[in-house]
């Protein structure tokens, strides 16, 4: 169950309401009354217990499939000792009252929802529990120590008395909020750590879940935008009159976005089909744009060419150059990876209604703070005049962190004075993404005569994401995404040199599920495999030998290999490959079993065994689902995906020429969760990075072919065979 709500509505409800906020001096908890008085208090968690025995948790994170509408309430419910069936969530609006305590903004990304919200959610639940127990003890005139909270009630065993939270919540709301409630001890969790069913499944099965594209506002117009086909293209000619002649077409408007530049010509009409007809009638002719020479070949040239340039040093241990020169054996390889499209199944869309004193936005977004800021900028309204309704997200994967579609819809509503529902076509969605950066690497490695790794030099050429999105996080010219997974790799090597060459192309780049780790895990984990082969060692053994002091990485490798039967012989023609990667605080290792049809060059992935250590476990079913999802998406990218460029723009247009993995290509997946009790790690993204290298390494194991280029299409496989 989910509904949108406002702060005022929340405070008006009867019962016990708690809010909790991270302040410089620690967490601070307030009752509804105190919150109403103290306007400066910006809570991160809201929790409410009402006389109908319901527990409502306001969730400030977006649900895009990763399960936060279930895992976050589970944390509160457990500390509260609530009855799970009485727990529901409300989706937070956008505003300072709902910011992520660690980030200081309201957004969902970086696999952080549970990590950032775990502590405040537990404290809120525990504080409410203590207040309910106190209320009962006062009512009954017995010591608090004799009262026990259990499954939505407080019980006094000695006198066999019991009251539900609903009966106690009004009394409890009169008490002082404890600032340091006692959290449950290990072993006392009833909900945390168990595979509870998701709260959003029923409405996603019966079709009633409301995504952004499902929003209707009275009197709204539909908008569709004719967009430049090439980067920087300007309209040479167009026929506004012809478009306006179509019945039901009301406006043709040029759309300029403050953050994303010129967007194209929007047609606003009474129905979506009329908007499309208007677009066709516009007959826009575009010029060649700013980079007509940009295509697949020119991009390759640019990437490879930049390997010759000097970059910024991201890590330098020892003397890598000297160690490489003195090495017993030296290996060198170059890897090239393409731009990737997010391909959320729900195309970009947004509905906005701007009036003189109010702006309402309905949008599937990962970035409420960004939406709010964009709306402020475009409308000139104040934050408290802007209302953001976050719907379900039909996939996010980082794409919905961007506010391009939001800025377009707000512009159009402001210009027309009407509510606007803007829906991108799939073609617009493919061609106007902010892609996972294309990149290339040159890596050199040195081994001594005992087969130990003595040096690793890694140069990565890649466009920068952070310089646009969070420029304040660029350090000494280094984009953290560009080198993540290389600069912090855990292999124990005395001489390591990591260099980053920034190459910005006209193609915009953004966060794509697991970000820099998607490409850096591929190059690092393929190259370590190449080195193990050069050292004539088993590739698992070789990795373990260089991770003796990194027990979490060591353990995931060991578990994945053991569960996969690493030393068991495979069927003829099959190969096995392994890879591990640390990202977003979680360690993941995967073993892939593949076979290769060397005549046509196709790769079949039969089975993937995954081991994950994300520290504590909230909901193992959700962790497993996220690992499966990450593996499937990562495999799709590894085998099939890459944006094609042509004549200064994107040539790929829909799922026939940007193909995604389908059911018959999806392998059997086995997930093993290692409950290490270490620091909590993320779960939405870390499943993605290891799969591409695990598959490439398995292909080598099966055929002796090293694939150093993605995607691993039949052409890539045959191309690599030709070089053997």
């Amino acid at each position: 169950m989910r509904t949108n709500m406002t702060r005022r509505e929340f405070l008006r409800l009867a019962g016990l309401t708690l809010a909790i906020s991270l302040t410089p001096s620690g967490y601070r908890m307030l009752s509804a009354e105190e919150v109403a008085k103290d306007k400066s208090f910006n809570p991160n968690v809201w929790l409410q217990i009402t006389p109908d025995n319901m527990v409502t948790i306001v969730v400030n994170k977006s649900e895009m499939g990763q399960g936060v509408y279930t895992s976050l309430p589970m944390i509160v419910a457990d500390e509260l000792e609530a009855e799970w069936k009485g727990v529901k969530i409300k989706v937070a609006p956008a505003g300072d009252k709902y910011i992520d305590p660690v980030w200081g903004m309201q957004a969902t990304g970086g696999s952080t929802s549970v990590r950032h919200m775990f502590e405040p959610l537990r404290k809120a639940g525990a504080a409410a529990r203590e207040m309910l127990v106190s209320a009962a003890s006062k009512k009954w005139g017995v010591p608090v120590s004799e009262c026990e909270a259990s499954q939505g009630s407080v019980i006094h065993k000695k006198s066999n008395r019991k009251q539900t939270y609903g009966q106690l919540c009004e009394d409890a709301s009169q008490l002082i909020v404890p600032q340091n409630p006692t959290l449950k001890k290990e072993g006392h969790f009833r909900i945390i750590g168990k595979p509870f069913d998701r709260l959003d499944v029923i409405e996603k099965v019966n079709g009633s879940a409301v995504f952004g594209i499902d929003v209707f506002i009275p009197n709204m117009l539909y908008a569709s935008i004719e967009r430049p086909p090439a980067y920087g293209a300007q309209a040479l000619s167009y026929d506004i009159k012809a478009a306006l002649k179509i019945a039901g077409v009301h406006y043709v408007i040029d759309v300029q976005s403050p953050s994303y530049g010129y967007r194209g010509k929007a047609v606003c009409a009474e129905s979506i089909e009329k908007a499309w007809k208007g677009r066709t009638a516009l007959k826009v002719k575009w010029d060649k744009g700013s980079h007509p020479e940009l295509n697949n070949e020119s991009l390759q040239k640019m990437l490879i060419g930049h390997l010759k340039k000097d970059g910024v040093v991201a890590r330098s241990d020892g003397d890598t150059k000297l160690a490489l020169n003195k090495a017993f054996r030296k290996v060198e390889a170059t890897y090239v990876l393409p731009f990737l499209y997010h391909a959320t199944m729900e195309p970009m869309n947004c509905t906005a209604h701007v009036t003189a004193d109010k702006c309402e936005i309905w949008v599937p977004t990962q970035n409420q703070t960004g939406v709010l800021k964009a709306a402020e900028k475009i409308t000139g309204l104040k934050p408290d005049q802007i209302y953001v309704h976050t719907t379900y997200l039909g996939g996010g994967f980082g794409r919905r962190f961007e506010t391009d579609v939001v800025e377009e819809a707000i512009q159009l509503s402001k210009a027309t004075g009407r509510p606007i529902k803007l829906i991108w076509s799939r073609e617009e969605d493919v061609k106007n993404d902010l892609y996972r950066p294309a990149n290339c690497c040159k890596i050199e490695g040195g081994i001594d005569d005992k087969g130990r790794l003595v040096a690793w030099s890694h140069k990565v050429v890649v466009p920068s994401i952070f310089s646009r999105v969070f420029p304040q996080m660029m350090k000494n010219g280094i984009d953290p995404a560009a080198v993540e997974g290389i600069e912090n790799m855990e292999y124990e090597i005395p001489n390591v040199y990591v260099e980053y060459v920034r190459l910005d192309t006209p193609v915009p780049v953004g966060f794509w599920r697991s970000v820099g780790s998607t490409h850096n895990a591929f190059t690092v984990e393929c190259f370590i495999d190449e080195l193990s082969h050069a050292a004539k060692k088993d590739s698992l053994e070789f990795r373990l030998n260089h991770l003796k002091n990194h027990k979490r990485a060591y353990k995931v490798l060991e578990v994945a290999a053991e569960k996969a039967g690493w030393r068991r012989p495979l069927k003829k023609g099959q190969g096995r490959g392994i890879a591990q990667h640390l990202s977003f605080g979680s360690y993941v290792a995967q073993v892939a079993e593949v076979s290769v049809d060397e005549k046509i060059g196709t790769i079949k992935v039969h089975r993937v065994v995954c081991a994950v250590d994300c520290g504590d476990v909230i909901n193992p079913a959700i962790i497993t689902a996220q690992m499966e999802g990450g593996i499937t998406m990562g495999l799709s990218a590894a085998l099939k995906e890459g944006i094609e460029l042509e004549s200064g723009g994107v040539a790929s247009s829909n799922f026939h020429n940007y193909e995604l993995l389908r059911m018959h290509e999806a392998p059997d997946i086995e997930v093993h969760i290692i409950r290490s009790k270490e620091k909590l790690g993320g779960i939405g993204e870390p499943g993605v990075p290891p799969i591409a290298p695990a598959v490439a390494n398995a292909v080598f194991n099966a055929t002796g072919i090293r694939l150093r280029r993605l995607p691993m299409t039949p052409e890539t496989v045959k191309g690599a065979m030709g070089k053997m």
Binding site: K204, V205, T344, M345, E628, T632, F655, L660, H664
Partner: protein
């Protein structure tokens, strides 16, 4: 004027006959469980039943659906074995493609009550899921098939 029968209910409305059925169902009738994914019959998110057969509603001009019985996800009873299996197997993640998946699965099982894995894949291959729920979809279909056996 177009007349459509959707989920055993008749609707009369004024719309150009060439508009794809998908957009009529979604934006005119507001039965939004049926989703837009690609507009080219490549992803299966828009799958509905027309006279009991699974069809991609993005490819059918509304005029061609006149006089036929259309069923959308909203017209499938809550206690339908496939819906129940989908809940039991906890299939959805983001959920966007699931209506189409379920409609395709129901049509599959009505033709082949006990499909082999290969048969499941042949039919379900037309439905994309970016979240990677394929394994659970297979599981749910197998569960629903077994439930139907009794």
């Amino acid at each position: 004027m177009i007349t459509l029968e959707v989920n055993q209910k008749k609707y009369d409305f004024d719309v150009s006959p060439d508009v794809p059925l998908l957009w009529v169902i979604r934006e005119h009738l507001k039965l939004t469980g049926t989703k837009y994914g690609c507009g080219m019959s490549l992803c299966g998110a828009c799958t509905v039943h027309i006279d009991g057969k699974a069809q991609r509603s993005c490819q059918i001009p509304v005029v061609e659906a006149q006089g036929k019985k259309i069923t959308t996800i909203e017209g499938i009873p809550e206690n339908h074995p496939v819906k129940k299996a989908w809940v039991k197997a906890q299939v959805p993640q983001c959920g966007y493609c699931q209506s189409g998946q379920i409609m395709q699965a129901i049509a599959l099982l009505s033709e082949k009550p006990n499909p082999k894995e290969e048969e499941i894949m042949n039919v379900m291959n037309g439905n994309l899921c970016r979240c990677g729920t394929y394994r659970k979809i297979k599981k749910a279909i197998t569960m629903a098939a077994k439930g139907g056996k009794k």
